[in-house]
Symmetry: C2
Subunit: 429 residues, 2 copies
């Protein structure tokens, strides 16, 4: 059995494509052709035998997908808390989970999440390679290329469905970064690990240099590569500099090489971005990467929204989605402040889902519009039970509605002066 992409390219319609096409409401032939061209991806490690509980397709014209990040840290390293966070994320509508663990037993946490969850799972192997190097040698500097490649293979063997690899940070891009004199420098953890190694050794990025080998591994395990944006801006002032765009152009070349090896891949984007630059950024990615699915972290549209970065990200996500972005990474209220707790995950996912759904009303239409129409109808009928059921958070909606009792069967905003009491609906419907 080849990769999902290789089958699609040979004109075979893989079973998982049929399954996903049904849930997306698209034609399986069309989705197969999209996978073949690399404008859609279906991350599913071959070790899962194409039997992922809830497989998803990400890409052109499909519903916008949402990823939720979980993962331990040095200060808070309970694998079961991370599992709980992942489950909450999935309950409120996330489609995929990334394990970004950096504390405690990294193998154990990753394997736990892969075993217990039915969504595609992503990881960032360089975290583990770097952290084990620090644990073993006292520093990231002594990490060998083999350490990096072996860790990637360990993740692939464990069954991860997609991995972020910061292959696009070239030495030249780092030199440009230095010249650019950024305010906030590098804010990607993976990017910072690799850059510190590269700058110390004066050597090229091992992920870039070993890209062909990595692609061979990815093909063997049918892992989808998510080309990370290690030089993404960390504040509005740094947005869209030469280094960031140089990395994107390198990534565009790597997309082509990935497709050439029948390995599915997507592209990651910022980060912090002023609203007027978002559409242009998405258009550039779509153009140079020839329609590769675009996976955005936010973007956050101002630096000062803390502790409401989930709102700043929802704004950026909606604008990006309108411009063609396919995949949104959740930003939580604890962004820039600390590891998110379960409640933060819930609020972050809901904010992302609001953005994704708002985009889907236009991007997908039809059945998505029907959901909102049903809500409009329930409102006009003053049917509160249906309104709660259709809301993003039925429990909380019902709680707010019931906080103070209305005496008129409406709500306490207008009471008896509710528009649906004032004006006979028969007059205008």
């Amino acid at each position: 059995m080849g990769t999902i992409m290789s089958e699609a390219r040979r004109g075979i319609i893989p079973g998982i494509v049929v399954e996903v096409a049904r849930s997306e409401g698209v034609n399986p032939e069309k989705l197969t052709s999209m996978v073949a061209r690399g404008v859609a991806v279906i991350p599913c490690n071959s070790s899962r035998d194409r039997k992922l509980g809830k497989p998803v397709a990400i890409g052109e014209g499909l519903t916008v997908k949402v990823n939720v990040n979980v993962g331990t840290s040095v200060d808070l390293s309970d694998p079961y808390l991370e599992l709980e966070k992942a489950r909450i994320g999935l309950r409120y509508g996330a489609d995929t989970v990334m394990d970004l663990s950096t504390g405690g037993d990294l193998d154990y946490t990753r394997r736990l999440l892969i075993r217990e969850l039915d969504s595609p799972i992503g990881t960032v192997p360089i975290y583990q390679a770097a952290i084990e190097s620090i644990r073993k040698y006292g520093s990231i500097i002594d990490m060998s290329e083999d350490d990096v490649l072996n860790t990637i293979e360990r993740h692939f063997k464990d069954g991860v469905d997609f991995v972020t690899l910061h292959c696009g940070i070239t030495y030249k891009a780092l030199e440009s970064l230095k010249k650019g004199r950024r305010v906030a420098g590098i804010v990607s953890r993976g990017g910072a690990f690799i850059a510190s190694w590269m700058l110390h050794h004066g050597r090229e990025n091992p992920l870039y240099e070993n890209y062909d080998y990595i692609l061979e591994l990815a093909r063997e395990y049918d892992v989808c590569i998510s080309l990370g944006d290690g030089l993404r801006p960390g504040c509005i002032a740094d947005a869209n500099d030469i280094a960031q765009n140089m990395e994107l152009l390198t990534v565009a070349e790597l997309v082509e090489r990935s497709r050439g090896m029948d390995v599915q891949c997507m592209v990651e984007g910022p980060g912090h971005m002023p609203i007027h630059q978002i559409a242009a950024n998405v258009a550039l990615e779509k153009a140079v990467c020839k329609g590769a699915p675009y996976y955005l972290l936010g973007p956050i549209v101002t630096d000062i929204a803390t502790p409401y970065d989930h709102i700043a990200a929802a704004i950026g996500s909606a604008i990006a989605g309108l411009a063609g972005a396919d995949f949104l990474c959740v930003v939580t209220p604890s962004e820039h402040l600390g590891l998110p707790l379960p409640e933060d995950i819930k609020h972050g996912v809901i904010a992302s889902k609001i953005a994704a759904h708002a985009v889907d009303l236009y991007r997908v239409g039809g059945r998505v519009l029907d959901i909102d129409k049903a809500m409009g109808e329930a409102r006009a009928r003053l049917d509160w039970v249906t309104q709660f059921k259709l809301s993003m958070d039925p429990e909380k909606a019902s709680e707010i509605h019931g906080r103070v009792k209305s005496r008129s069967g409406t709500c306490t905003m207008c009471g008896e002066y509710c528009v649906y009491k004032i004006l006979d609906r028969k007059l205008y419907t």
Copy 2:
């Protein structure tokens, strides 16, 4: 002393323009010319003797302003709760307050807010006219034109700085509404009051028919007119129908007549709107109303976001602001569910401010960009005190950061693997 607009048109630079120009960082001559042309307004009732505590200018290229609605309802009618809500709204960055009271002593509540607050105050006089008619005659049907006009004058005399008047709901627009067979009908309370009166009597809108008289009153008290959108859509399915746009075109004619009388005016917009229609809606308003300041309620970009409509509105507000909207009305988490409590007001205002600020980074630039840059610098220095100070909610930001202690002076997200610990900043700055 004439109106602010009449002075501006005669080439006099009113003192209040100088004051506002300073806080906006614009040239007073330029702002005067904008007021003269009607592309900016400075709402300030003449009874205030131009001595409003915190006057604001709303319009073309100026910082995006935020209005917070407060007001009693039948089920919850404590004027002092509304005053508290208004103060919280202003504390978190609202620029103006509208009193939308519909319960208890309406005169008392309005006068209390005017007396106690230093921001411009707006009202919707038709609420009081309709409610007093219901209290007096048992129905809105018996409300006379004099009742309406006298209530408007009472608000003007009390010192309100701007009023929403639904003058654009013509009989023809209501006929179009009937033909359109909307899902959610009319959702504007003022619109519903007027429409039920019009449909019962088979008569034209008294606010439309008496517009010249209303303008004379407005000129006498120098009140800024906010032309309401009584036929705004109440769900995505109803967005941008003929009735809505017919009202906008009528409003555009009324804008011209207002300018002709040296009365400042602005235009109100929806409501519920799918994201891909927002920019077009703003462009249409700016075109037909010849640059009149555009005041949007949200827009909310999906119907199912309850109880997070403040996030759905922040998305719509940012997109509208990017397209040229000038004034945002806060939507709170209790929208569609009940009268907002103080905590809802806080969250609603912050969400609107995030949208407004994100727009201002582009629309105003300069000093606004500096705020975000300072945050980026504080992050790179791991200077937590400055980060909290610059955040939209210092208390909450500090609380989240301190929830679990980090052992490395960073935060619990990355701990010792913080990018600013991994990578020596000297390497790239």
